[in-house]
Assembly symmetry: D2
Homo-oligomer: 288 residues x 4
């Protein structure tokens, strides 16, 4: 069993930290809004710290799951941040979806202090975090990955070591690129089916065994047809992730025409008030 710290108890971090605890690890939590940390301790035991540094002190592994680059920089490198308080040989595991640039920077900062670091963004959403069935894409040295992997088992169904520092974030971007165009394609397909007067369930039944099949088709086509979007992964977060992705593409020279276009279509959804709806709400643009 490991001594761990968990920083960031949002809709993802709260249940993830709980799974760590249930797996028998010692967990000290930190959250910007302390009431949420208190609630976590009340429910799951362990203890809470007043600063990331206090949580990280003496831990074998420090997990972060916050909002974006700036938040991550704050809790890791800022005043009262975790990094300065970590013991030599400990591992920093960041589950936030952030830029590959900051992931590489944290890995360098960690290395300069004799620490290990893994960038480990997840997919599976709130439901996956709660059921402990996340997919985790990891970047970092083999040593860092080995140090982090056993504890992550507490909330993962799949953990893959993709490559060096930053690779976890880059893999997450690949995931979001694949989803963006796919969801738009499925939106157009369902929209066309409705306009053509077809029964959507029957059509999906007819085509979902072949080359058009996707997780989104299996799980979202019918809810899209019915206009149900109050679940899943929010448009707001998708836009954040696509923003990171398009920025990274500027650096590596990748061309992402449909991803960039769909990002603007998601802006249409935001303008329609859909910021907190599932990414499948992309169909709303067409159904007005």
């Amino acid at each position: 069993m490991m001594k761990t710290a968990f920083i960031g108890l949002g809709v993802m971090g709260f249940p993830m930290a709980a799974h760590l605890r249930q797996a028998g690890h010692e967990v000290c939590v930190y959250n910007r809004t302390s009431a949420r940390a208190d609630e976590w301790v009340t429910r799951h035991g362990g203890r809470r710290a007043d600063t990331p540094a206090e949580a990280a002190h003496g831990a074998d592994a420090v997990f972060t799951c916050v909002g974006a680059d700036a938040d991550l920089q704050q809790v890791v490198l800022g005043k009262g941040g975790a990094l300065a308080a970590m013991r030599p040989g400990a591992v920093l595991v960041d589950h936030t979806t952030v830029s590959a640039k900051i992931a590489r920077r944290l890995a360098e900062e960690a290395a300069s202090k004799g620490l290990l670091a893994v960038d480990a963004p997840v997919s599976g959403g709130q439901a996956g975090a709660e059921s402990g069935q996340l997919a985790i894409m990891c970047g970092g040295s083999a040593e860092a990955f080995s140090a982090a992997e056993p504890a992550m088992q507490a909330y993962a169904k799949r953990i893959v070591h993709v490559g060096e520092a930053g690779s976890g974030q880059l893999a997450k971007m690949v995931n979001q690129i694949a989803i963006a165009g796919l969801v738009q394609a499925l939106s157009e397909a369902v929209h066309f089916a409705k306009r053509a007067g077809l029964d959507v369930a029957t059509v999906i039944d007819a085509i979902s065994g072949g080359a058009a099949q996707s997780w989104q088709m299996n799980n979202r086509a019918l809810t899209m047809a019915d206009g149900e979007f109050d679940f899943g992964f929010a448009v707001k977060w998708m836009r954040k992730d696509l923003g990171l992705t398009l920025e990274e593409a500027k650096s590596n020279g990748a061309r992402l025409p449909v991803t960039a276009l769909v990002d603007q279509f998601y802006a249409d959804v935001v303008a329609m008030g859909g910021e907190r709806q599932d990414t499948s709400s992309l169909i709303r643009r067409l159904e007005k």
Copy 2:
């Protein structure tokens, strides 16, 4: 066992007719280039006719699998066409991917002569036709579908009655819409992964269990990364199908922005000489 005619022995029709024969049906074939019909008879027995009408004479079911609207009109309604020769109560089953408009017209013409008609485009490609594992999307009356369905079992893994006449074609369009944007999204994802210096197989392994999963990801991501496209469903046919789809969308008012854009991207692939390559060759635009 049924008495059947099969008109059109291209890469799809040739093996489909063979499966009919192997299932014990009587088969009379017709092909524009008669040498191909001779070859079929040499291999599979049965007999060949000199005109669609001759093939259709006395048949319980007449199958067509030709090139496009004009060809279909020719073999069914033209001089020496099948329809005029069919016996009352027989069923016309068209496996060509054509417009919903001509499918509806054939159904009307058939009805006016006391015949049944099913529009029954397939998916699964040449491989599916050869292995007898096609998915078939059917439009027509319940009676027509019931008359056609038993024989189609010879080469299908899935047969769905989608709705009235034309619905098979419309469902095929839904299928192609869903594929077009999805393949572009996957192309961008694989392209980004390569530009980012990731190992594509590892990334796909990491993400293919989640919300980005698709048949295309499972079956094409690695060949796309390796630049292999000499298999599958040709760009040339995809463009034909997308053309039918965009035309239909003008009638029913559906908006297909990414489908229309990807259709133009496929034109880029054609300009690069990729007309006969698999639809996954869409990535070639990005990899120059």
Copy 3:
């Protein structure tokens, strides 16, 4: 002065035929709805015919300005059509925007009968037709162009002989391609300016002297900002023209990604009820 026939008295043809008359030409008109032809004769003199053939009989030049390919084929080649009635050496001038294919076909049919033909689509809209200030793009032989040009001066501010038969239509397509993406760009610019809280008139004043300048910017930016679209060239006709253009691009191998995308955006405008509004109504998609 010439003896002319004018077939098709829509919003364009009605005033164009009037200009011919005012320039001193003899004009016999034909219109599918004969009341409209009667009205024309009442206002402008001349006479009306009961069929295109009757109007064309003995004319030096026959002008057509109808709806689309099928209409043109009807009035020229159909029963009672103009071509068969024309005298040797006469010229057929088609002002309809149609496919280059039918323009070439009419030229061939004309040639086979010892007649001349010019495809001569116009730009300038209803306002240009009324003021006699149209721009005319002509395709056909030098001889045909020379025969047609003097009469067209009655309603043109600019007449250019672009090339052989069909070239007038192709030039019109080039015109519409250039407009489609430009109007979308201007829509995004005006939309952004409003969202950014800028005074649109001031911004346009600041930028319209430079590289962003366009006729559309000079004439439509402020009306777009004010949501005024009840004038100009209707979305319905733009979609017709873009359809012809995208079809032609399939033949000649041109890739038109933004044109295809904007065509779908115009479909959004149609879905919003904007079919009869000016093409600048493209901004409505963004302003909801």
Copy 4:
């Protein structure tokens, strides 16, 4: 005559500062690479400073024309930066194309020190800077604009006060949005014309008097057709500006689908080695 400082002697700043001097103003220059400043002094007289602060000391107006946000922040607010050295009531005029955010921040910093500030991005490119014929879009208070305007006359053909601080930058973004889609539309038009076998000069002659007209059509269509791109405004800078624009759109909620798409198309041009070519090189994507 004013006492001025000019910071940043790139391809724009070098001739702009020279125009100031020729108009009779006192000019002290600063450039990161001092050899360039020495060259300027050798050619135009005046003097050079070792730091932005030294140049700004005692000046009535301080002009900046550097690379991007970070550079601007450095020369204005960084160590040895201009702002701290400026005398009360002096005006800071920034000609760099940067984010509206930093323009607003500089205006605030200036105000807090009793200084005036104008964000004043230009259009007209290197040619306009050399001939003193730039268009300048200004943001800032009326007082700041009045203080800056007389000196700017030295190199402007048009100066417009668009609005409060940041408005100059926002107007420049509007300009770039209008250009991006327009150039793509023109690229498609010229590409189609060539594929259709038309003479591009003749077609442009036929259509440039109407609704498709633009500065780009008048000045770039023929060079695009001839594949000449070694002049004008570089793709590299266009991508920088579009990046700023898309970022700003995230804040103000504007949707820019074609702008985002064309930005990716420009990335195609960069991948083809066109980073330093004129923005009209967008056509190269289609002409391969």
